[in-house]
Symmetry: C2
């Protein structure tokens, strides 16, 4: 199934089914918001599946992605991992950080009261803060009881999403040094317009990882196309990690961290910080600057046969 939340003036938007080819959409009849669906998935899913088949057969109206909010426009919980070791190891090397063990996974709790729409302008306070994008994949869970292990966690992955985790890099070192983690340097994220059930990926959903490239274009120029599958911890393991000392509320969003590959010199990067890190290693100093107001960032992942999946994030950063 493919789901979107269209802007109807409410905070949560109106849940719609989207056809597999993203050409058509119809308001979900069984339930009106994605949050309500996630709180009672098994009750609503059969009717939604039937309606999804109808939309794929031509029901509904043309789907206008420009009218989509984030699939989950606000969430009770957003936890972001950092599951690509190639990215972590590079950052440690560049910044002289003592290497951290790759298990348990890195994860922080971020702002979840809003996720920007994929086409919305993103207001931030200052170009001096080192404005960066971070292309990520993510999952959304139903309710996960405290102590759930990775095997059981797989059944709680209800939806897959694509995320831009906006970052203010120059504020990060101070916040990391406090031990309290990130606050200023992690403003609200963006979600691509369509959330999909794992079965939509077919063989590209492997070991609770998304085996697709995330194509990132910055101001119209290709910046990266790293494969999602190289996570050292799958989303199942990230869920189990998150649930150690808390129940996860239905609608918990968990991110992969910046998609990154060992072959980053060939495939490119999903954030500017990584490219700057490579430049520091190779040339002694970074040459790529961070974003300026007015810059455009586009991110999309498609299936191998070019079927659209999450739709595209395509937005501009502006002065708040």
């Amino acid at each position: 199934m493919k789901l979107t939340s269209l802007d109807d003036g409410s905070a949560d938007g109106r849940l719609h089914l989207v056809s597999r080819d993203h050409s058509r959409a119809a308001p979900a009849e069984a339930v009106t918001t994605l949050q309500a669906l996630l709180e009672d998935w098994d009750t609503h899913a059969p009717a939604l599946k039937a309606q999804y088949a109808a939309v794929n057969a031509g029901a509904g109206v043309p789907f206008d992605a420009a009218k989509a909010l984030a699939p989950l426009p606000r969430a009770w919980q957003w936890l972001d991992g950092s599951a690509y070791d190639s990215h972590g190891a590079l950052m440690e090397k560049v910044f002289g950080i003592e290497p951290l063990p790759t298990w348990p996974p890195l994860m922080y709790q971020g702002i979840s009261d809003r996720f920007h729409a994929a086409r919305a302008d993103v207001p931030l306070p200052s170009e001096d803060d080192g404005i960066d994008f971070e292309g990520e994949f993510g999952i959304i869970t139903d309710r996960v009881p405290m102590g759930t292990d990775a095997a059981a966690a797989r059944g709680h992955i209800r939806l897959l999403v694509q995320i831009n985790d906006w970052s203010l890099r120059k504020l990060a070192p101070r916040e990391m040094k406090t031990g309290f983690g990130w606050l200023h340097c992690k403003p609200a994220c963006t979600m691509a317009p369509v959330a999909v059930t794992p079965d939509e990926l077919g063989a590209q959903w492997r070991e609770a990882r998304i085996d697709l490239p995330l194509v990132v274009d910055w101001n119209g120029a290709r910046f990266g196309a790293a494969q999602g599958v190289e996570m050292s911890a799958g989303f199942d393991q990230l869920i189990a990690h998150a649930a150690y000392s808390r129940d996860l509320v239905a609608g918990t969003v968990i991110g992969s961290g910046t998609v990154s590959n060992e072959s980053y010199r060939e495939v490119g990067s999903s954030c500017i910080a990584e490219r700057r890190g490579i430049e520091i290693l190779d040339e002694g100093a970074p040459t790529t600057e961070f974003m300026r107001f007015g810059d455009r960032i586009r991110m999309e992942a498609r299936l191998p046969d070019d079927t659209p999946l999450f739709g595209a994030i395509d937005q501009i950063v502006v002065k708040a």
Copy 2:
């Protein structure tokens, strides 16, 4: 005004006015949940104030604090500061942490999808994790635009609350070292049953600080009674700090951090970690152990004339 959310089977509870002496309560007529009130305070406040006067004059029914949820049983955002320098300086000394500047304030984003009721048992995974309480004061805001300064922030402080920020101390060093901040070591918090408007404190609301002792009893024995006023940054400054790169959603809860005084040897502490720190300094090793399952923690702040304010947190920690 004094407000509580009584358990009616819903996630948010049913908003009630509580009389100044906590003897009576009546369902709010103007609005049914605290979240809805915070989203449109100015519209609803006049009717609520009139109803509050009626409850103080004898309207309503007897208030049973045992039926109260947290005033805000779930929030879109919970940001916890660490604004008592005596606590921070002690922890730095004990753990050999390089002293951090006291400005900007320390703050992390924590789990907000639930706040435990004041009398609810609190389930946690293991006694080996160093289970600790943290007595705090907190505030709840209406919507605060990005970039709001401390002077303007005062007008956004709609309610004051009292919080127990449950902590798993033995998990903290690893999470602090990652730079990603706390996750496992900060499970869901508890809120005392009643939220109050700042005017209820009279002269005890000073410079956006709560000038009252927070009385903490552990298993029936007095543990601390530190004054809330010694914050190095007031709640107005904490709000301004939080709002640097984000709008604060209506219903944002911001905590003071563990209430602590320079005179901690005389007034006691609001968490076990602080007492252990004093023991390490004075005796070379800690002698106070962390909590065991079945332990009871009670926390309450009253006005100088003994009028109740937030009601008491009084609960037991249990095996999840």
